[in-house]
Symmetry: C2
Subunit: 70 residues, 2 copies
């Protein structure tokens, strides 16, 4: 059941790398602490939808695109 945390983390990392953003830059854009982003990307964080929305906006994507294929 906890796989979703790893899948979301991998997707954040994938989109961040595609956009050529460092964790620091994404953290600044999303107004979220860099260490929080590191824990999301490593699949350790049970992120809330409001924080996920901040990341999705900062990554210039949508919930639909983010969860494509999940």
């Amino acid at each position: 059941m906890q796989m979703i945390k790893q899948k979301v983390g991998a997707r954040v990392r994938e989109l961040r790398n595609q956009k050529g953003l460092s964790q620091e830059k994404l953290a600044l854009a999303a107004d979220i602490d860099r260490t929080y982003i590191a824990s999301v990307e490593s699949g350790k964080r049970n992120i809330s939808i409001v924080n996920l929305e901040k990341l999705i906006i900062a990554l210039d994507t949508s919930f639909a695109e983010f969860f494509e294929g999940m």
Copy 2:
């Protein structure tokens, strides 16, 4: 920014009604408290992805289908 809570709530209610499930039945299937589901559906709850995954599985859908168009 907080609109996502209302959108997710409306989508849970829409899918639940489509499947002809009461909040009690969905709560049982998802192993989540009924009052929690009521607060999600009314847009008050900043749900985590692990709890959202429980609802998505209980609604027999996927993250991709759940967030279609969002």
